[in-house]
Symmetry: C2
Subunit: 320 residues, 2 copies
């Protein structure tokens, strides 16, 4: 509490008494259209509110409100701490000044899914490297030899880590083929574009950087009359809501949203209470959830898939 | 502004100067796990933030924070207005005292998707009746004669309206069969349970009260080896995110989330500026989005579906 009081004198010159009965914590997420961010938003804000604090959920927009603008608004409202999920800290090219400034003002900070080396903040991430080895092992066991990775822009920390984990897993013996990695946007359209390029290079399996990208990859396959999973297997990332209901039900890497949210809330509350959380990054173990979008590698691998390769779909009940 | 100032003197006995540079608006939604609520939350908060105001997004939880608790927290923070989406106002059995109290304090209020007759608030709803006639017309044109409705608990206003619209549409000539209506929970499991009962009564088409219920209904069909849409057609409601990627892609009724959010924000800003919004309920026209979960009625209608009725799925590319 000493930290907060010191910070207040820095932030506000006027001496109006603090009249809020509960503490205010900012929770900044990129947007709510991707269901993985909705899940983090829901869990973190619920945990804060259940503890008697007031969460202010801040979602960004393309045209409008940025992370920096939200930080300003939160400072104006005397915020007691900020949790940032997949924010600018995930962009290795972004300026870290905003976070240094917050820390200099004594505002506790927890950064989720990204990493900034030199900022004095608690950090929590999904273990992207382990996730990639789970995905590659699953596909290798199914007989796939030409496995591609479809991920977002190169400058993002979770992308850098996924690529490193993927290359490491794919290089492990007895893999010999050069790793296929295609960068695009994090979106459905990005997944579609990256998947098209991977299919052209003969991939029979595509690991994606997000569930949205995976849904886009499945679209790319359909656009070429390539069946999933008969001709090509697709793995998502996140296990966001309703992926079991996708067509086909999506095999994906599940982020531990519950455990990560609990840790983020515990850390921001500790920091706000003047008990700094550990500065080592906490890495959470993801799980592989096997559903209907992955299957055995096709017997004959095709360099240009899509020609005469459509097979009968498995009955719906087996995919569900 | 006169309204807000008067309200403030009612709300707070102490005379500390107001030091917030932007107005605070509460946006209360049930939760973020159902993507339709995420969509409303994202749009309404973005519009408020883009206009220079600060939205506080309030999501409820089963064990924890209720709508009433959020209203308390917002009052403690000197809220300038509250938008409630699918809140207690949608429950026809709920006490309306909470809303009368807010209005007596001068807090502007906009209620979305629900209706309370006697509260002095602006009201916006999706037109549930029109939606049901769109759904029934589509299914009738496809040759369906035994159409069921799977909706949430009877006491909710949108449910009452959907049932009324459905019964009206189904009774229109040349329909003669008695309307099949099954109430359950709003969830996936609720949709599954209601759909099972409708299948037992020989329905070849099921209209659902939400997309989640529709996904549950498709599960119920699969559990009985009934193919969607070959044996049974299913229509969702909301057109929430990613329903085009469901298996099969979901035919659904699209709520005008964008237009409804814009109206809600315009109204709450008008009210906060002392210019009361109209008190008639604004009804927004939904649209039918036809995808792969509806198709022609099966040639021979079965009273007990699921026996030897599985057919080959249509090629994936035609469903997508």
């Amino acid at each position: 509490l000493a930290v907060v009081s010191a910070a207040e004198s820095l932030r506000y010159s006027r001496s109006a008494p603090r009249r809020w009965p509960s503490r205010l914590f900012g929770v900044i997420v990129p947007e709510l259209e991707n269901p993985i961010f909705s899940a983090f938003a829901q869990q973190i804000t619920n945990l804060l509110a259940q503890g008697g604090d007031t969460p202010m959920l801040c979602t960004q927009t393309a045209r409008g409100v940025s992370e920096d603008r939200w930080i300003e608004l939160l400072l104006e409202r005397d915020v007691d701490g900020i949790v940032v999920v997949s924010g600018m800290h995930a962009d290795s090219h972004a300026d870290t000044e905003r976070y240094h400034r917050l820390r200099a003002m004594g505002i506790p900070l927890v950064l989720v899914n990204g990493f900034v080396e030199d900022v004095d903040a608690a950090r929590i991430s999904d273990d992207d490297r382990t996730a990639m080895s789970l995905a590659v092992e699953h596909l290798t066991a199914l007989g796939h030899e030409r496995i591609g990775l479809a991920v977002g822009p190169e400058r993002y920390v979770p992308v850098i880590r996924k690529v490193a984990g993927f290359v490491e897993a794919i290089k492990a013996p007895p893999r010999t083929a050069a790793p296929l990695v295609e960068h695009s946007l994090f979106t459905l359209e990005g997944g579609r574009a990256a998947a098209r390029r991977l299919l052209e290079q003969g991939a029979t399996a595509i690991v994606c950087g997000s569930d949205l990208m995976a849904l886009g990859a499945i679209r790319a396959c359909r656009g070429r009359h390539v069946s999933v999973p008969q001709d090509v297997s697709v793995i998502g990332y996140d296990d966001s809501a309703l992926m079991a209901f996708a067509g086909p039900p999506l095999t994906t890497i599940r982020q531990s949203v519950g455990a990560m949210s609990e840790a983020a809330v515990r850390m921001i509350l500790d920091e706000a209470a003047g008990a700094p959380a550990p500065r080592e990054e906490l890495l959470f173990q993801p799980e592989l959830v096997v559903r209907g979008s992955t299957g055995p590698a096709p017997a004959r691998r095709k360099t240009v898939p899509g020609v005469g390769s459509r097979r009968r779909q498995r009955p719906a009940s087996r995919r569900a």
